[in-house]
């Protein structure tokens, strides 16, 4: 009898968790659809969009650049030592380039921007919710979805591919620096090998991924901030949830997009 009660409680808690997860997915999907529908209808707040482009894109350059530089360098070292096991040291330039533009550039940029931007959007919108600034926008005949959410999501979706592209270039440069200064590659050969093995599809798929990651980063920041709970604790929780959910969704979307691009 006691075992049955335990089983009942155990299955009940699993059921509640699954239902909660489904409800959360549904709410996020609705928020995304609402955001896209507002994206397509005026009014458009161009000044706000420009400000967000600067905040999300330009001010993320240092963190993305540094991440890419060190990753490219480390990648060159790893591929060199790994390749040495079967005398394939020469693949360093091409593998660094392909790995950076297909995977590491967009994914690492996405994760770094998730840490920097998702959290700041969630904290800003959460504070605006708690201090009634979002209600104030409504009373001033301004739709908060259009004024707060759309410019951020659009700016991140546009800025991320640019950031990822810059990250790709800097990452390849990191590999080039390590390859030529530490591993003894000839500079001209390194560049030649990088160019000759890189295809348009590699770069394009990376940029499409980055755009998707930008959308995810801003959407998660906006969703959690917009629906933030009360007080400092509510804003803190919104910030954590934004970063965690954006990071997980970036990795999941990365797998899905890789399947779409490279297994067909």
């Amino acid at each position: 009898m006691q075992a049955l009660t335990f089983l009942d409680a155990f299955l009940g808690s699993i059921g509640r968790s699954v239902l909660g997860l489904c409800a959360a997915i549904g709410r996020i999907a609705l928020f995304a659809v609402l955001t896209i529908s507002h994206l397509l209808r005026p009014p458009f707040y161009l000044a706000e969009f420009g400000r967000q482009l600067l905040q999300i894109g330009y001010f993320s350059l240092p963190v993305v650049g540094l991440t890419a530089l060190f990753t490219g360098g480390a990648l060159a070292l790893q591929i060199y030592s790994g390749g040495a096991r079967f005398s394939a040291e020469a693949v360093v330039p091409s593998v660094v380039a392909i790995a950076m533009v297909r995977e590491l550039g967009p994914v690492l940029s996405g994760l770094m921007v998730a840490g920097r931007v998702s959290s700041s959007i969630a904290a800003e919108l959460g504070t605006m919710r708690v201090t009634e600034q979002i209600d104030a926008l409504t009373t001033l005949s301004t739709n908060p979805m259009k004024y707060l959410v759309v410019p951020r999501v659009l700016a991140a979706t546009i800025a991320m591919p640019i950031l990822a592209f810059i990250g790709d270039v800097i990452g390849i440069m990191g590999g080039f620096l390590v390859g030529t200064q530490r591993l003894g590659f000839n500079a001209a050969t390194y560049i030649n090998n990088t160019w000759s093995f890189l295809e348009f599809e590699d770069v394009f798929s990376g940029l499409v991924k980055a755009a998707a990651f930008g959308f995810i980063v801003a959407l998660m920041g906006c969703y959690h901030g917009y629906n933030s709970g009360r007080g400092a604790q509510g804003v803190g929780r919104a910030t954590t949830n934004a970063v965690v959910s954006a990071s997980v969704l970036i990795l999941a979307a990365n797998y899905l997009l890789t399947e779409i691009f490279f297994t067909s």
């Binding site: 009014p43 504070t127 600034q133 209600d135 409504t138 009373t139 001033l140 005949s141």
Partner: protein
């Protein structure tokens, strides 16, 4: 005229509004009083559509608030929020002129700035404040900027949510006086929620007391002290003993 007809609103098992009936005539200043958690803010936000009532009807000048053009409906209102709710990222004049810079009757930047500075002057702030940011201002100044923003587009109806909360008694007096002057000067319909009795006496034409989700008493401010209603008496005389249970 604003009419709330049998308005009900619950949050889960918490039945905040249990059938509120209230009428605010054109040009009248109605102050809603009541203890914390009695639904004053929810009633006010229901009129603006920031909270959706579960049932009942809210009419503004005879029109149902849930029907018609939402922007045109909201253009009739100005609101002073409890904490000011000024936009941190915008300067003071941009906050005041927020509505003037957007929408159908959009002004040029320089005209909107002129109007904002005029409204700031009206609430007793110098033009130098215009280019400062809200975080640089004191609580009293933020309230004044919020008031300037509420009246910037010269609305027909103004809502004041706890206008003196967090202010010292002198600043509370100044804000109360300003509200009274502005409401009379503009001929606006005003709805204020507060539990500051000095605000009630300074601002109100009529008073409504909310208790347990319904209007417990309503009448002219002049009759408030002689109402004979035990709930109202306990509240306005700040007595711990009485029909309203105080949590100790």
């Amino acid at each position: 005229m604003i009419q709330l007809i049998n308005v009900k609103k619950s949050f889960g098992n918490n039945h905040v509004l249990r059938g509120v009936n209230l009428t605010i005539e054109q040009g009248e200043s109605m102050v809603i009083i009541g203890g914390s958690g009695t639904g004053k803010s929810v009633a006010l936000k229901s009129v603006l559509g920031l909270v959706q009532p579960d049932s009942g009807q809210i009419l503004v000048n005879g029109a149902d608030t849930t029907e018609g053009d939402r922007d045109a409906f909201l253009a009739q209102f100005g609101m002073l929020f409890q904490g000011g709710a000024l936009f941190d990222s915008l300067s003071v004049w941009q906050n005041v002129a927020f509505r003037l810079l957007r929408g159908k009757g959009k002004l040029t930047k320089s005209d909107a700035r002129d109007v904002a500075i005029e409204k700031l002057r009206r609430v007793g702030l110098k033009p130098e404040v215009a280019d400062q940011f809200p975080a640089e201002l004191s609580g009293g100044m933020q309230k004044r900027v919020g008031l300037a923003r509420a009246i910037a587009a010269e609305p027909d109806i103004i809502f004041f949510d706890e206008p003196t909360t967090g202010l010292d008694p002198i600043m509370s007096g100044v804000i109360n006086e300003l509200i009274r002057e502005i409401v009379v000067e503009m001929g606006a319909t005003a709805m204020t929620i507060t539990h500051d009795m000095s605000s009630v006496r300074a601002i109100a034409d009529k008073v409504a007391m909310l208790h347990e989700g319904v209007v417990q008493w309503t009448g002219p401010v002049s009759e408030m002290d002689s109402s004979g209603d035990p709930y109202l008496d306990q509240f306005i005389n700040a007595r711990a003993e009485g029909p309203i249970e105080a949590v100790r």
